[in-house]
Amino acid sequence: MWRDWGNRFAELGRRAWPALMLAAPVAFYVAAGLWLAMRGFTDPEAEYRWLRTRVAAAEWRLEYLGWLYPHGSYLVLLPFTVASFARWPLGPATLVSAAILAAVFAWLYRRLPEDWRRWERLAVWGGLALSPGSLWMATSGGRDGLLFAVLVVVFLSACKMFEARNLRAVFAFSIAAALSWFVDERALWVAGFLLISLIAAARWSPYRGEAWALVGVAMMPTVIHLAAWAYLNWLYAGDPWYFFRHPLSAFRGALAGSPLQSWAVQYGGPGAGNALLVLVALLLVAPAALLIFRLRPRPAALTLALAAATAATAANATFFVSHPLEWIGLPAALAVVALSQARPNASPRAAGALVMLGWAGALAMMSFHPSPGPARWQAALRWGHRPAELEVAAEVARWLESSGRPTWTDEGESGPVLARMRRLDRLVLTHEPEFQFALLTRRLQAPQLLVRRAGAGSGARAADPRFEELVHSLGDCLQVVFARGEWAVLRPAGCPESGSALGQGEGDVGAARGRAAFAAPRADDDKLAAAHLVDGGRGVARSR
C-alpha cells in the first residue's frame, strides 16, 4: 500500500513538475519585485509607461500609447489596467516580466540535454534563472523581459531556419523580427542587423536557390509594421516619420539628447570607447559561439552572431543604451538558445561555465558607472530605504483624490503622483481636447492644476512644454492651495479675467510674478517647497 502511495506521489510529481517549473520562478520573481518595491525601488519611466497605459485604457484610446516609444511594452500592460496598482505602480510590468522569464526558463528546462543528470539540469537552470541579470530583467519593471523573450524567438527561429527547410521557422523569424521593432528600440537594432545580415547568409540556408525570396519573406512583416506605423503617425500626428523625427523619440536613440553618454565613451573618449564597445559587444555574444558549433552551415551562424554583436555595438554608439546592463537581454537570450540547442552529449560543465560567465558579466555590468535605474535597483537590493519623495507623491495623490475637483496636469511631469492615484477619470491631461484647446488659445478654464517645481530630478519630462509656459503666463492669477515636497496644487485666484491668460506683454510680467509666488514657501508649512517653474526639469537626464 505504501509503495502504491509512493508511486502515486511520484506520478503526481512527474505531472506537476512542468507546472512547478513555471509557477516557482513566477512566484519568486514577483515576491522579489514586491520586496524591492517595499524597500523603495521604483523607476519613473516605468511608472510613466504604466500611467499612459491606464489613461489609454480608461478612454479606449490606444493611439495615446507609445508614439515616441515602441508601443509593444505598453500593450502588454493593458490587461492589468482593470486595477490601479496605486501602491505598486511597477507591479504590472513586474508581473509581465516575471511571467515571460518563467515561461522561457520552463521551456528551456524541457530542452536541456536529456543525458544530463537531474541535479545538473537543475543547477544550470537555477543558475540561469537566479542570475543577477535575470533578477534585473524580472524585477526592474522595465522592458528587458520582453526584449529577452523577443530575442529568444528571433535567435531560435533563425537557427531553425538555417537548419532545414522549415517555413514555420521562417514565419516565426519574420514575425518576431517585425514585432521586435515595436517591442523595444534595442531589439530594433538586433532585428534590423539580422535582417540585413540575412542577405549575406541566405546563400548558406536551405533556400539557397531562392535567397532573395527568403530575404523578402523575412523582411515583409517588418516592412508592413513600419509602413503601418508611419501611416498611423501620419494619421494622428500629421507626419509619417513623427516617431522618428521627434527629438525625444526612442527610435532615434532616446538618449541622444541626454547628458548621459554612451557608457563606454567615458573610457578613453569616442575612439577608444567605440573600440571598447566592439570588444564588449563581441564578448556579450560569446555564447553565440556555441551556436556556431551547433549549426550547419557555420558561415550562416557566424553571420548571425556577428550581426548581433554589430547591432549591440551600433546601438551603444548611437545612444540607444546608456548602461551595459540594458543589454543583458541579448547575451541571456543567446545563452538560452544555445542551451536549448545543445547536443545530447554536451558537457554540463561547459554549460555551467556559461552560466557563471553570465553571473560574472551581469555583476560586472552592474558595477559600471550606473545610470539612475540600475543605481536605485542596486540600492534597494543592498540597503533598502523608501525614498521620502515616494511618500510625498502618494500623499499628493490622496489629496487630489479627496479634493473632488478635476485636475489639469502634464502627465509627463506629474507621473509619480498620477501613478499612485486610484482613479484617473477626474484628470485632464495634455492629450485631451480641452487641454489642447487651452494651450492653443492660451485660455485656461481649470479648477485646479498640479505642477512640479523645477530641478526635482525626477527623470520624467513634460509631455507638452506649452503647459509650463501657460502656467508661467498666468502668474498671480493662480494660488497654491496645497504643496508637498516638489509638488504644488494651484487654483485660479480672482484675477480681473479669472482663469484667463494675460496678454503677451503682461504675460511676461505675470510669469515673473508667478515664479516669485511659487518660489516662496508658505510660512505655515515647513514641508512646503518652492514650486519653480523655470525649466521644468528639462535638463534632467531621463533615467532608465
Binding site: R168, V170, F171, Y207, E210, G216, A227, A228
Partner: protein, 639 residues
C-alpha cells in the same frame, strides 16, 4: 437466339470448369492464339505476383488484349457460353432496380429465364461469384460470360431512370434540409426579413448608432477572419512538419493488399484535354487491374465522347454517359457515375488534373493510419502553368496558401474542411451513406466536407499534390470564382438553417471557424469594395463625413484589418510561394490587392447569380494554357 439455352448438355458445374481452367491457363491460351506476346505475358505475370488480381484484368488494363477477344476465350476456357449483351440484351422483366448496387459490385445481371432456370450474365465468372449468386438465387441458376463493358452498358440502359432520379434527388428526398435545392428556407427568409427591417428601423430612428453598429460588425468580422487565418497558418505550418505519409511507407506498401480504386473524371466539352488526361492516368503508380476509372461524359457532348473513344483508352477506363437533364452540374454527373463505382475507395480528378503518381497509394496508407471515422482525405492542389501570366502567378500563390497551409490548419483546429473540387479521396461506402454530392450546390465539394463534419466524420489532408491548369484569362477566372463563391454562399445558407443544432454538432471551434472561414470567403470580398470606397473618398477629399462612424474601438479594428490584415495576407502568400520552391512568385504577392479586386467583382457576380440562377453551373473553360506540362517530369521539377 442463344441455342445453349435450350441445350442441357452444355451445362457444367463450376468446380469442373475450374479444374479444366487449371489444365489450360488463360495466359497460355492467349499466347497460343497470338493475342499476347511472351514478353507481355511475363510482364503481366510479374505484375500479378506483385500486385495481385486476375491475369485477364491485367492484360485488359494494359490494353494488350481487347475485351471482345478475352471474354469469349475466358468463357471457352471455363466451358461457359459467352453473350454479347449489345446483341442479346437482358430481359428487362428480370431486372430489379433495387439490386442495382449489387449488380455493380458483384458484376452480374439477370439475363434470361428459360426452362425453370435463371441465367445470369457475369464478367467475373469465378467460384466466389458463383457461390454468392447461388446463395442468393438458389441452385437453379446458370452463368453466362459477358464483358464488363456490356454489363455496364446494359445496367445503364435498364436502370437509367432510377439512377438519374437518385443522382438528382437522393439527398433532397432523404434530407431536404441538407440540400441546396431550396436556396433559403422560410425561416431564413423570415430571419432575413427581420434583420433588414430592424436595420432600416435603426437607420430611421438612430442613424448614427446603427451605422456605427454595422461598421463595427464589419470591422469585427474582418479582423476575426484575419485572426483566424493567422492562426490557421501557424497551426498549418506545424501540421505540415509532420509528413502524413512518407516515401518509405509508400515503398514498403504491399501492392497485393491494395483495394480497387475508383477514379471519377467528369468532362464536359473538353475534347482538348483528353490526351493529356489519358497520359496522366497512365502515370499513376497503382496496379492497373485495381483501377476502376470512369470518364463521366454528358450524353449530348458528342465531341468529348468522340475524343475519349479516339484516345485508345485501356479497358479499365469506362465511359459513363450521363443522360441530359437539369441541373447540369458536376455533382449530379458524379452521383450518377458513383452508381457504377466498384472500388473500395473513390476519388475525383478533373479532366486537366495531373496527380502525383503515388497519390493513390499515399491515400490508401493515409486511410489505414487514420481513424475509422475518416470520410475523406483531401490531396493538395496546385498549378503547373504558374508562370504563365500575372493571373496564374497569383492564383498559384492563393492555391498554395489554401491547400498547403490553410487546410492543414483547419484540420488541426477541428474546423470543417471545405473540400477542393478534385483529388478528394473517399471510402465509397461512406460516400454513398451520406448520399454523395448535392447536385444543386455549385461547390458540392465544400458542402460535402461540412456535411461530413456534421455527422462526426473526419476530413484529413494528404501530402500529395495534384497539378491543375490555372485559369489564364480574367473573365474566365471571374466566372469560375463567382461559381465558387456562390457555392460557398449556398453552403453557408444550407448549414446555417439550424444554427443551434449545427453548433451542437460541430462544436464551438467548428462553428466559429465555419463562420469566419466559409462565411469570410464570400462576406469579405463583398464588404471590401464598400469599405475601400469609403476609405478612398476620405483619403482623397479629407472629408469628416465618415468620422462619426469610427469611434476608437471600431477605428482600431478597421486599422488592424486595413494595415495588418492586408499586409499579412501578402506575407502569407509569399510564404506559400517560397514553400512551394517558387520563390520567383513571392514578390508577386505585393500585387495581391489587384487580385482581391477581381475577387470582389466575382463575389458580387456570385451574389447576383445566387438570386437570379442559383443552380447554374458556370463552366470553367480548360485547355487554354499555352504551357504544356511534361508529365514525365511531374514530381521532379514541380513541388
Amino acid at each position: 437466339m442463344a441455342e445453349f439455352l435450350e441445350d442441357d448438355s452444355s451445362r457444367l458445374r463450376l468446380g469442373e470448369r475450374s479444374r479444366a481452367a487449371l489444365a489450360a491457363p488463360l495466359g497460355r491460351q492467349l499466347l497460343e492464339r497470338g493475342l499476347l506476346t511472351e514478353e507481355q505475358l511475363e510482364a503481366a505475370l510479374a505484375e500479378q505476383r506483385s500486385g495481385g488480381g486476375r491475369l485477364g484484368e491485367i492484360v485488359l488494363a494494359h490494353g494488350w488484349v481487347r475485351p471482345l477477344d478475352l471474354y469469349p476465350l475466358l468463357a471457352e476456357q471455363l466451358g461457359l457460353p459467352f453473350v454479347n449483351l449489345l446483341v442479346e440484351p437482358p430481359d428487362p422483366e428480370l431486372f430489379d432496380a433495387t439490386r442495382r448496387q449489387e449488380y455493380v459490385e458483384w458484376q452480374y445481371l439477370p439475363w434470361r429465364f428459360r426452362r425453370g432456370r435463371l441465367w445470369l450474365a457475369t464478367s467475373d465468372p469465378c467460384e466466389e461469384t458463383f457461390a454468392r449468386l447461388t446463395a442468393d438465387y438458389g441452385e437453379g441458376i446458370e452463368l453466362v460470360v459477358t464483358s464488363r463493358f456490356d454489363l455496364l452498358w446494359s445496367l445503364d440502359r435498364l436502370a437509367r431512370a432510377p439512377l438519374l432520379a437518385d443522382s438528382i434527388l437522393a439527398l433532397w428526398e432523404r434530407s431536404p434540409e441538407s440540400s441546396a435545392r431550396a436556396v433559403v428556407t422560410r425561416r431564413q427568409v423570415a430571419a432575413l426579413y427581420a434583420a433588414v427591417t430592424l436595420t432600416l428601423l435603426g437607420l430611421a430612428l438612430w442613424p448614427r448608432a446603427t451605422l456605427v453598429a454595422l461598421n463595427g460588425a464589419a470591422a469585427v468580422f474582418l479582423t476575426a477572419s484575419f485572426a483566424l487565418r493567422w492562426l490557421m497558418l501557424w497551426k498549418g505550418s506545424a501540421a505540415r512538419l509532420q509528413q502524413k505519409v512518407t516515401a518509405e511507407e509508400v515503398a514498403a506498401l504491399d501492392e497485393c493488399s491494395l483495394p480497387v480504386y475508383t477514379l471519377l473524371v467528369p468532362l464536359y466539352r473538353e475534347p482538348r484535354v483528353v490526351p493529356a488526361l489519358a497520359a496522366a492516368l497512365r502515370r499513376l503508380d497503382y496496379p492497373r487491374q485495381k483501377l476502376d476509372i470512369k470518364l463521366i461524359l454528358e450524353e449530348d457532348d458528342e465531341e468529348t465522347i468522340a475524343a475519349a473513344k479516339a484516345a485508345g483508352l485501356e479497358a479499365n477506363v469506362e465511359l459513363i454517359r450521363v443522360p441530359a437533364s437539369l441541373p447540369r452540374t458536376k455533382p449530379k454527373a458524379c452521383n450518377y457515375a458513383l452508381n457504377f463505382a466498384r472500388g473500395e475507395l473513390v476519388t475525383i480528378y478533373d479532366a486537366e488534373d495531373l496527380p502525383e503518381p503515388d497519390q493513390l497509394k499515399k491515400a490508401v496508407i493515409a486511410f489505414r493510419k487514420a481513424p475509422a471515422s475518416t470520410a475523406c482525405i483531401q490531396a493538395r492542389l496546385n498549378y503547373f502553368n504558374f508562370g504563365e501570366n500575372w493571373l496564374t502567378r497569383l492564383f498559384t500563390l492563393e492555391y498554395s496558401l489554401w491547400f498547403d497551409w490553410y487546410l492543414p490548419g483547419l484540420e488541426a483546429l477541428g474546423i470543417p474542411i471545405p473540400l477542393g473540387g478534385t483529388s478528394n479521396h473517399f471510402p465509397t461506402r461512406l460516400l454513398r451513406e451520406v448520399r454523395a454530392w448535392d447536385p444543386f450546390n455549385v461547390t458540392e465539394d465544400a458542402d460535402l466536407g461540412v456535411r461530413f463534419s456534421q455527422r462526426g466524420l473526419r476530413v484529413g489532408v494528404l501530402n500529395s499534390t495534384t497539378f491543375e491548369e490555372a485559369n489564364t484569362r480574367v473573365w474566365n477566372w471571374i466566372r469560375q470564382r463567382s461559381r465558387w463563391i456562390k457555392g460557398y454562399m449556398q453552403t453557408y445558407l444550407v448549414h446555417m438553417r439550424h444554427p443551434i443544432a449545427f453548433y451542437r454538432r460541430i462544436g464551438p471551434a467548428g462553428f466559429w471557424g465555419f463562420q469566419f472561414f466559409i462565411g469570410g470567403s464570400f462576406l469579405s470580398p463583398l464588404l471590401v469594395p464598400i469599405l475601400a470606397a469609403i476609405y478612398a473618398i476620405w483619403l482623397i477629399s479629407g472629408t469628416h463625413l465618415f468620422d462619426p462612424l469610427f469611434p476608437p474601438l471600431v477605428l482600431y479594428l478597421s486599422l488592424v484589418s486595413l494595415l495588418l490584415g492586408n499586409g499579412y495576407l501578402m506575407h502569407f502568400h509569399m510564404l506559400a510561394g517560397l514553400d512551394r520552391a517558387r520563390g520567383s512568385l513571392a514578390l508577386w504577392a505585393l500585387t495581391l490587392p489587384a487580385y482581391y479586386a477581381l475577387m470582389s467583382a466575382a463575389a458580387w457576380k456570385a451574389l447576383f447569380d445566387l438570386i437570379r440562377r442559383p443552380h447554374h453551373w458556370e463552366k470553367t473553360e480548360h485547355g487554354l494554357s499555352s504551357f504544356q506540362c511534361d508529365v514525365a517530369r511531374l514530381g521532379k521539377s514541380l513541388r
